[in-house]
Each structure stands twice: as C-alpha cells, then as structure tokens.
C-alpha cells in the first residue's frame, strides 16, 4: 500500500469507494428505489471528488469545483424528484417496484 503523500489521495479513494458501493447497489438491488438511492450515492461521490479537487487544486478562488458541486446538488435533487415520481407512477400501473418484473421495454 502506497503511502498517502497527499490528503487528496484519501478523499479520492473514499470517493471511489463510495462510487463503487453506490454502483454495486444500483446493479444488484431489486427495488427501483434502491437503485435510485444507489445513483444518489454515486452522485454524492462525484461531488466529493469535485470539492476535494477544488480544495487541493490550483486556483480555488475560481470556485469552479464548488460551483460544479452546487449545481450537481441542484440537478440531483430535480432528478431524484422526477425519478421517484416515475417509480410511483410505474407502481400504480404494475403494482410492483421490482425491476425484474418491469420489462415492457423488452426488445
């Protein structure tokens, strides 16, 4: 294990791990809402990446990372709203939230 010569490395690894966990959950869980939760986790991990790079990168006064993270939060919120609304609508139609059973788009 390489020595963490930079604190950035730690944050990046944490972000990567969190991303992987979120992805695993999105790929493995049956419930649609759990998939959405996983996606939220993935988004958060990306946010962490951005903030970490803003803190330890050059020109933090340009606020690029911060802005990105803020907009990402806003978009994530909108996306969560729409996504969950969709899940609810689908639940009303098919009476289930299990992704295995929702294959009307089968090719």
């Amino acid at each position: 294990m390489t020595a963490l010569t930079s604190p950035l490395t730690g944050y990046l690894l944490v972000a990567a791990l969190l991303f992987a966990i979120g992805l695993a959950g999105a790929l493995v869980r049956r419930n649609a809402i759990m998939v959405l939760i996983g996606i939220e986790l993935m988004l958060n991990a990306a946010n962490l990446n951005f903030i970490a790079f803003w803190r330890y990168g050059p020109h933090p006064e340009a606020l690029t990372g911060m802005m990105f993270a803020i907009f990402s939060i806003a978009v994530a919120a909108a996306e969560a709203a729409v996504g969950l609304g969709l899940v609810i609508a689908i639940y009303r139609h098919t009476n289930t939230t299990e992704l295995d059973k929702i294959n009307r788009m089968k090719g």
Binding site: T2, L4, S6, P7, T9, Y11, L12, L13, V14, L18, F19, A20, I21, A24, G25, L27, V28, R30, N31, I33, M34, L36, I37, L41, N44, N47, L48, I51, W54, Y56, G57, P58, P60, E61, L63, M66, M67, I70, F71, I73, A74, V75, A76, A77, A78, E79, A80, A81, V82, L84, G85, L86, V87, I88, A89, R92, H93, T97, L99, D100
Partner: protein, 166 residues
Amino acid sequence: MNVVFYLLAALTIAGGLAAMLLKHLIHAALAVTVAFAGLALLFLQLDAQFAGFAQILVYIGAVAILIVFAILLTHGAELPRGGVFSGTWFVGLAIAAGVFAVLGWAVLQSVHALPQQTAAPAVTVHDIGNALVGSYVLPLEIVALLLTAATIGAVIVAMHEKAGQK
C-alpha cells in the same frame, strides 16, 4: 491525515454500505441519510462550507425525505418474497469491483501528479453569490428552468390519472 478524516470517511462508507445492504427499505433510506450527513461533514472539513450546508439542506432535507415518501407510497415497507438482491448479484458486484479497481489504480498511479495545495482557500458566501450571478449566471438560469420543469414533470408523472384509464 487527520483522525477526523478517517472517522468521517468510515462513517460515510458505513452509511453507504448499510444503505446498500439493508433489506428494509426505510432502514436503507435512513442509512443513506447518514451517508449524506457524513459527506456534508467531509465537505465542511474541506472548507466548502456552502457546499456542505447545501448538501444538508438539499439531500438530507429534501432528497432523503423524498425517498422516504416514495417508499411509503409504493408500499416498500413490505419485504418482497424473492429476496432483495437480484439473482445475478455477483455480476453487478464484479462490475462494481472492476470500477473501483480501475479508479483506485488510476488514483494510486497518479499520486505524484496530484496537486499539493494545502492553504485553505479564502472563499466567502459573498464570492459565491457574485460568481453565481456573474460568470455562472447562465447555468444558474438553466438550473432554474430545469428545476421548474422537473417540478412540473414530477407532478404530472405522479399524478393520479382520470378514472377509466389504466
């Protein structure tokens, strides 16, 4: 590296893991809230106060609640019969592991290329506000539109349909 960092990292990771592994959906939602909180604290530790508080406000205050509402509306409290994990869960796990492997390897390989800045940035909310209506005014307006559209869309999608239509 701080102990605080390790603690917060562990808290976040634990929350995320718990969120993905717990069977009960409400428990999972609460666990992800913990993860969100951990992340907010990490943001604070990274001197991104505004991002941190925004995280708390939006994610914990809105998204998590939204998730709970969705769980309740879809009767997610009842445990499904076939198990919560899909039949081919190891494939997903393998893929996620692959992703982590690639990312981790990239990070570790480029350790020497990473920036080393240690001085805390002197950023105030005033600066953020200036930036929002200054150089980032276009994204701001677009996000505003997006939020409007998302709101309207979510309402329409989740609306009860007229009687007679399936």
